[in-house]
Subunit: 405 residues, 2 copies
């Protein structure tokens, strides 16, 4: 297994002014190709620290690939650091640079040549790497079986260089598969899928997010395929369809398959379910819209909820949830309607209905089904879980699947 | 200047399955507080490499803060690595863990306790750190003047721990001030505020997000205070009020100040504006609710938009936007109503109304004001900008401020 280290060089990343994207992008590609990414490091524009980083990885990995610090300004230190590391001077790589300059119009050529004193410089003991997207040369060199690739930090330039130098030779996307599972806590899921986790020739990662766990299976294509089949057999009603990685996609795919239109009435989630569904292009074909009935008055005015029901049972009750769902199906002219009403907190909880209590109803024609859940955590956490659970319930209803765990 | 190193632990980041966000978030905070972030490192879930990383930074920085690897599954190796690094055993920190378990309902307590064998374990020579958001304990210890803080990787848990442990005590919040400015592009804003950026005793950072630029001023308290005053004088109608860092907070604060109720009708933003406003606890007092009228039918049914208007001018027109805003004010019984209708793409654009065209109307009593914008980018980008611009327009309307730049 080839080993690689990815290094981003730049004070602006360490100070949080810019987020790192190049190394994570390349990490995914190498990982999918079966290479081992030993580390991603972000280091400052500092001559000494860059050299120290090179020194630390020499002989330990096959490739070290850096991003950034090759620009024309005074705080770009990477090429000086390479020269110092190799113990040599910088020289102007005229031939290599002329290929870059030739791309520009006559008037721009003069300007580009002006910055050539810096961007065309290469350490004498290193080779230039052509930049098809920008005006700085990349640098490559080799020390003790470790190849170093020094690329610019501009994402389009970095990606073009990395693709040209690596991707054709290394990528095989067949060696990993993902299954997204809803309704399970991470720890319980691990117990349930024990045998998959114990398979010695399979590498399994578990990536939990709100009400969704991504199980990543890596290894030989036949084995990962077989393991995916097993996961889907073990959890026939909890795995999202192949190629679907969000609950909102799963809902929309099922609405499309069944040619059913849907709408929703949201109180505590305040529009989060509607905005998730409309994230997806083409949602308007099957998602009619929603009502954010945050105030009691709006529940009455928009959805025809009986004010006496709210007075008697409260807005967070199955009675209110049912009237909301029925009202939404009617005003939105949708085949199916989901309603959500709950207490997101931090205030508003009582002993009988503590913060985190959420009622859902699903109305389709004359049928209405209701259920409630209790979610822990902060307001943001409760709302996020209420959103995800609502989408899960809608998907299960459409699929005819039993409820989760 | 205090020195800090941020380490993310996790195979899923190195393999590009998940992007790193905790360390970059904390890096920005430390940077703004005048601390030096020496490196951000991403290392695998590997006993040896985690120990080697600790060893490498001992005595060289004041704090090492790690993220991840404290979960209950087999690939979480961080606590074992800490124990090995300190040369001690793991013990169950019952007292600290009971505070976590107490937060859960009786039925969940049993499940949580089941995973206690792992998530409650702390190396004997270390101290537990309370987790207010999740079920794993954090760990802290000190070796040769370097403090180590080992936090979970779940962002809400990591952030809550970091805020509690650092932001109040360690960071001197008096030496930096932030102003949030809406309606400006980063580059234009820098030109406009030139003199502030040129002040040699002031450190200025600019952190742009969607339709909001955070200007961070660092230095002597008197100087930063004076600089903040100057920014607010220079841009009297673009700075959010002191202590307010989001557009939705600014809108709600102004609704509360003026005792005005509001509602909205969203087409292309699909509920994003409603869900932003209801993110804030207590929103129900002044935010009546919203209508997500994604389909034309729902615009007619819910808001009383004349179908002939849609046929003649299209749903993305000021005529439709006005009827949407008027209808929303009526059905929501709100003093003010905002409507948004646009083309988020990727399909649906025409030569006259290209993808990214968005119309807004604000209706208050008999008055209706409309304007349109054009946003570039992907569907997600256009929707995000349409959301933020809508909130900006609502805020400016309430404040009586002119439109932005």
């Amino acid at each position: 297994m080839k080993k690689v280290v990815l290094v981003a060089i730049g004070d602006e990343i360490l100070s949080g002014l810019r987020s790192e994207g190049n190394c994570s992008w390349l990490a995914a590609l190498f990982h999918n190709a079966g290479w081992q990414v030993k580390a991603i490091e972000v280091v400052p524009d500092d001559l000494y620290i860059i050299q120290e980083t090179f020194t630390r990885w020499v002989g330990k990995v096959d490739h070290v690939i850096t991003s950034g610090g090759l620009g024309p300004t005074h705080d770009d230190k990477t090429r000086d650091a390479v020269a110092a590391f190799l113990g040599c001077r910088l020289k102007i790589a005229e031939d290599a640079y002329s290929r870059i300059v030739d791309r520009y119009s006559e008037s721009l050529k003069e300007i580009i040549k002006g910055s050539m004193t810096k961007q065309a410089l290469i350490p004498e003991k290193a080779e230039p790497v052509h930049n098809s997207e920008g005006s700085a040369l990349g640098i490559r060199f080799r020390v003790s079986d470790t190849s170093f690739w020094v690329f610019p930090g501009v994402p389009s330039e970095y990606k073009a260089m990395a693709e040209r130098e690596f991707l054709s030779s290394v990528i095989d996307v067949n060696c990993w598969r993902s299954v997204w599972i809803t309704g399970w806590a991470e720890s319980l899921l691990k117990d349930r899928l024990g045998s998959v986790f114990e398979d010695p020739v399979l590498h399994v990662s578990v990536l939990p997010s709100v009400n969704l766990v991504q199980v990543v299976l890596r290894g030989d294509p036949d084995i990962t395929h077989e393991a995916e089949e097993q996961v889907r057999r073990d959890l026939p009603e909890d795995c999202l369809p192949e190629g679907v990685s969000t609950l909102e996609e799963a809902v929309l795919e099922e609405l499309r398959n069944k040619k059913i239109t849907a709408g929703c009435a949201e109180s505590c989630t305040g529009g989060m379910i509607s905005s998730s569904l409309t994230d997806i292009a083409g949602a308007s074909e099957f998602f009619m819209g929603g009502v954010v009935c945050y105030s009691n008055q709006s529940k009455v005015n928009l959805l025809g909820v009986d004010f006496k029901v709210i007075e008697k049972y409260g807005a967070v009750s199955f009675q209110c949830a049912e009237m909301m769902a029925k009202g939404a199906a009617k005003v939105l002219s949708s085949d199916l309607a989901l309603s959500v009403t709950g207490i997101a907190g931090p205030g508003g909880g009582t002993k009988e209905k503590p913060v985190g209590t959420v009622w859902y109803s699903l109305c389709s024609g004359d049928s209405v089904e209701s259920q409630h859940f209790h979610f822990d955590g902060t307001r943001a956490h409760i709302r996020a879980r209420a959103r995800a659970k609502g989408l899960e319930l809608m998907w299960r209803y459409l699929k005819g699947y039993k409820n989760g765990h």
